[in-house]
Symmetry: D2
């Protein structure tokens, strides 16, 4: 059954709900009301099976990601920080470029630009006022490159060009994703070291943004914000054709505007906390405001 999803976790569930997969290591645990699943796709064969590139995928799932009160956001932010640090552990970097993918004027696609707006951007301060920030604060820059339909330019070309110019030692991409299950919308954060690779698990795609295309380590953070209506219908009737009119409709949570605002805080906090040592949410809030 062909259900559209950008989550490695769902690809695996939808394809092979029960049995083990050769070349795929899965590890699941519960922390603080959150289910954390670590999937590692170890070889190209497994990648082709799951239509996702070789690499690590960490999925955090919690209904609490929908809560907007300061305590809940704090808890989620530190959880995300701790999982991001796991992906960063083997990397050595002292600068980063944050990239907010998506269309800022379409609510369900605006997660990336909204995270960028809450990121601690420090590169210019480090450059022009060198003593002004503590040495624990890394130089971080951030762009929202827009989408092909608005710029006429492939997003990976803009990111590639800017990255080549700045030579950041780490690129973090943020994007809104598709899921095949409404229950995962706004309750799931996927982080991966594979970058964004629209279409399939096999490298060198048009549009791929990854350590291979940028020559820099890449971490991608995504949250599913829409389900294709086709996926819902197909859940009940697997034979629904690809051309069915349902492909033009999205399913979103009723409160999508508030939920995306919320998740953009959690993700920006998680990024800020994981990049700079010895800072807390109060420091971030003072910096951003």
């Amino acid at each position: 059954m062909n259900l559209r999803t950008d989550l490695a976790l769902e690809e695996r569930e939808n394809r092979n709900p029960k049995g083990p997969s050769r070349g795929v290591v899965i590890n699941k645990k519960n922390i603080d009301n959150t289910v954390i699943t670590r999937i590692e796709i170890k070889n190209q064969k497994a990648a082709e099976g799951l239509k996702k590139p070789v690499g690590r995928y960490i999925t955090l799932e919690s209904e609490d990601f929908k809560l907007s009160d300061p305590e809940s956001i704090k808890k989620a932010s530190y959880l995300l920080k701790s999982e991001l640090l796991k992906l960063m552990k083997d990397l050595s970097f002292s600068s980063a470029l944050i990239v907010g993918l998506g269309n800022r004027s379409i609510t369900s696609d605006s997660l990336g630009p909204k995270v960028v707006a809450k990121t601690m951007v420090t590169r210019h301060i480090k450059n022009y006022m060198p003593g002004h920030l503590d040495s624990d604060i890394l130089p971080v820059s951030a762009i929202s490159p827009g989408v092909l339909g608005i710029t006429g330019i492939e997003t990976n070309d803009i990111i590639g060009a800017v990255s080549q110019k700045l030579k950041p030692q780490l690129v973090i991409l943020i994007d809104a994703l598709a899921s095949s299950s409404p229950g995962r919308l706004a309750t799931t954060i996927q982080i991966t070291d594979t970058g964004i690779s629209p279409g399939s698990g096999v490298g060198n795609n048009r549009g791929e943004i990854s350590r291979y295309t940028l020559n820099t380590p890449v971490i991608a953070i995504g949250v599913p914000t829409v389900v294709d209506l086709l996926s819902i219908v197909r859940g009940g009737n697997p034979d629904t054709p690809d051309s069915s009119y349902e492909k033009d409709y999205f399913v979103t949570p009723k409160e999508i505007d508030r939920l995306i605002e919320n998740l953009s805080k959690i993700i920006a906090n998680g990024i800020n906390l994981s990049l700079h040592k010895n800072i807390d949410l109060e420091y971030i809030e003072s910096f951003i405001s």
Copy 2:
């Protein structure tokens, strides 16, 4: 099967797809790529059957309502004008209050406030600069009262209070509606002389905004912008319970932002053209800008 819809047309289809209904007169015709269905609910018994108040409902359906080019918008605007004039024919009014219902900061609910922003508001000019506008131009005012969750005030109370103060001779309400069928989203405009009556066809509801509660003729204009996911699932499985999680999800067209902008132009044009004699879209555009 209990599918949520604000369209009289769909209530009828969903309840009694084939046979005739006592007390309901239906008339359908095609004009200019648009299906126009006129439904008249003639008595209280029929009203209870369809859970809609006694009155007239005109539904315009066209895929062309999704087109944003000036020609398509013009065609749709004049079609709407012509149907609005049918509802206005027996009314005698020389002033109007336009009310944009809904939450301006939730895309799918923002149709009303967006129409208000494109309405020719003239009341203050007629009052303070009496000779400035032609006598064909009626005094028109417009408000967007917000929603209960933001104001803490029942919307009908705000409208009732303002209407009692201004004593307009016609009130036009604009609201985003729910449909039970994705294909009707952003392709359907319902106009009715019954007002907005959440819940059922039997008068005096909490929240009702109608000629009975305002003591003024009311025309309501609505466009379905969402389908409850529950309606979709129930289409396949009529026994899905009301408490099912799908009730917290909406189905919308992928381009909902653009489509609502588009429909707000058509509806504002239709209202402006039907209220003021001898004006055209160019005059409206010069006035609004």
Copy 3:
């Protein structure tokens, strides 16, 4: 010299910089880096002299109102709360209506609607879920009535109508003001028990919104966000005529967007803290989000 200002403090400075005024009591003190001036206009003669109605005016002045970090906002919020409580001391009320005046889509005029968006609106919760909130939490409602040019309706008519319907026991108005001095922009908060009375100190004006027109105690909170360029030019050349082209230009601080966002937080916090007993900023933040 005729300089436009909505601040009682500046009217007094501009008219009578040194000597005492009969019927005007002035008291100035410094608290926490903030100058607090209390002016009481005691009789109609003094009111005519200062072109402001009889009543109390409290002005808080501090460069710190421009700071966006959480600590600075907290300090300013509690200072404002404490001065608001002074105006509320002799009032007995157990419900309130908050009114955000001004045009939400013009930055320098958007203070009122922005405060409304951060107000704890509770009336509907108290009504429909009576036990849900602590008894210390009063029923509060809030509207942004828009401006004459957009609605075609006099703002005081909308407020009067809604107030008559809801019968709140206190009305709080928030508005962006004009000052005659750039240094006061975004650094000054005026609170008064006289309401808003465009034009002069003599009652019953067109547009007046006050305890006399609403039959309810009114507190008005204002922040100067613009200086008429004419006031600047006239500072250097008192003979500049009223019709001079400078009247069509505003002076604003370079960071007006950020400053208004900031002040809207301070004012909303101050209102929330003064209306409901035993709550703190954390409670407010959880409630609003």
Copy 4:
């Protein structure tokens, strides 16, 4: 007297109001209620005198640029087209990149991003659907690179990187400018073939964006939207020091929001009309919508 301005025309007026300047050719004429001044700075000495690079500057001045009705916008758009074609006459190009400079969330600085949103972006359609557009339609792309304080990246670095990747044969920059005279705000459009060169007339500045830094012909289009309050005060008192507090305040027209929206239409139209042959405003409107 040191008044801040980005207009070559004002630099010349402020420095040398009467006499001729060696190396500067000036030509003034009236077309259709609009004063068009063509200034050519012919050599480096004259450039240093006027603090503007060698090149051509065309200034269009008209109170009509403030009018929002379709006829006025049409007239201004075709006037701008005709002057743009003069700067393009000696260039040979078959692709273009439009760059909207400035901060989209500060009204007075948002001109560039607003023009980008109304630009006919065609590059991706020409690439992926080659036959879909007429051969008169050139491939055009567009970006809004943001500002240093938000991205942490020098704007010229982003533009340089993207331009090097895409190799457009013409770059058009749009930016909000400073004037020294309130009367010029929103009534003046400056177009130049020198690019943007913050600071002085002498090449190779930090931040310069020009044919020399991009290796591509550059046209810059600017509209003054602010006057430094310092310039106003200095007009009356030339000895006001640079550090004076007035430098932190801007003078803008009262209707700045509407005026910028208006000018963004005129400029986008002018660009669209001058880049693509044989199209009119109706075609543009259908394309953009």
